[in-house]
């Protein structure tokens, strides 16, 4: 599916660029975007290195067991087939707690660690497993209790009450996350069949 979407995005943009007379911006945009991508990857190095180091300490010291006790019920509902003490479960727990606490910089490293561990349980390493899709559904709807960036932005714009949107954000994110997880369960079977035919 990603093949068609990527192709569609680019072909569609090129056609529109011809139509709107913006064809001269295309080359420039391609290389500017590529550079931006490399910059993002490089800025991830520092964050990933730090948090993966901390993750190892959490794992080895047994601090992870405390986190697991707190969030285990949630993980049991979301990932019923994952073994309880598997490293994948541990990384998923750390990712969920980092997201909930609004620590975006820590959530991504834990998330990537979780993907790596989920991959070890995946029978087909080129195709996303059911657990990966659930995990992505939870992450793309960013279950958070403290939307730090938005609060800072509102304060900077001179809001009388920058945090008044915390409540509405929690409700909206909870709705998005539930819809994501439920639709993932429903779509699983459909995309499973398609996978089988290939």
């Amino acid at each position: 599916m990603i093949n068609f979407i990527w192709l569609g995005m680019i072909i569609c943009s090129l056609l529109v660029a011809v139509f709107t007379g913006k064809i001269e911006t295309v080359t420039e945009t391609v290389f500017a975007s590529a550079e931006q991508a490399v910059t993002i990857a490089f800025s991830l190095i520092s964050v990933l290195t730090f948090w993966l180091g901390m993750m190892k300490l959490i794992e080895k010291s047994g601090l992870i067991n405390w986190v697991m006790k707190l969030l285990r019920p949630l993980v049991a509902i979301l990932f019923p087939r994952l073994p309880k003490n598997h490293p994948a479960t541990q990384a998923i727990l750390m990712n969920l707690s980092a997201n909930l606490l609004g620590m975006g910089s820590a959530a991504t490293p834990f998330g990537l660690k979780a993907m790596k561990e989920l991959q070890t349980l995946n029978p087909d390493p080129q195709t996303a497993s059911d657990e990966m899709c659930t995990f992505l559904a939870v992450n793309t709807s960013s279950m958070t209790l403290i939307p730090t960036t938005v609060i800072a932005l509102r304060a900077a714009c001179g809001s009388a009450n920058p945090t008044e949107i915390v409540g509405t954000t929690i409700i909206a994110t909870f709705v998005a996350c539930s819809v994501g997880v439920i639709s993932e369960r429903l779509l699983r079977k459909v995309s499973g069949h398609r996978q089988g035919r290939k």
Partner: protein, 178 residues
């Protein structure tokens, strides 16, 4: 009051987190430095693996923006949404939110500046910005890091959740602030 609590929490969570992790590990007689290095080792390789995936995705998104394809899409959708009483000013944000994190943040900042953070639009935009993440970026980075090529229904699910966040933000803000 609530605001100062949240701001203090935002400033304190990471330092407190680091403090607890290190102290707990030391108490359990772990070689903290060696263990940190052992884990940190993976950081570089993982980041470098992501480059081709990020380049591919950001080029496609960059072209959608620069060519005017997104603007065209917004122009087509605005009259439809107007019939449903959805303010057209919020549409660029709803479309940009799953595509580009920096792009969406820019649009949110623009709405907050132009209409004011305490206006209805400002509150809806804030809620929308905070309640979802950049679906395409997360998909690219997470699947890219382990070399998944066939993402099955993950993108559809992410976009459905984004749409749910968009509708929920509008409805909840109307109920609470409207």
């Amino acid at each position: 009051m609530l605001q100062s609590i949240v701001q203090t929490m935002a400033a304190w969570t990471i330092p407190v987190f680091i403090f607890i992790i290190l102290l707990y590990a030391a108490a359990k007689k772990i070689d903290v430095f060696t263990t940190f290095i052992e884990g940190a080792q993976e950081g570089f390789q993982t980041s470098i693996t992501l480059i081709p995936y990020l380049v591919a995705m950001l080029i496609a998104i960059g072209l959608l923006r620069a060519s005017g394809a997104i603007d065209l899409f917004i122009d087509l959708l605005t009259p439809v949404l107007a019939k449903l009483n959805v303010p057209g000013e919020i549409l660029p944000l709803a479309i940009m939110r799953p595509l580009s994190g920096s792009g969406a943040l820019g649009i949110t900042a623009e709405i907050l500046e132009h209409f004011g953070p305490d206006s209805f639009l400002g509150r809806v935009a804030s809620t929308m910005q905070g309640s979802t993440d950049t679906t395409l970026y997360i998909l690219t980075v997470y699947f890219g890091s382990v070399g998944i090529r066939r993402t099955r229904h993950a993108l559809a699910v992410g976009l459905i959740a984004d749409f749910a966040a968009f509708v929920a933000s509008l409805v909840v803000c109307t109920l609470v602030f409207g």
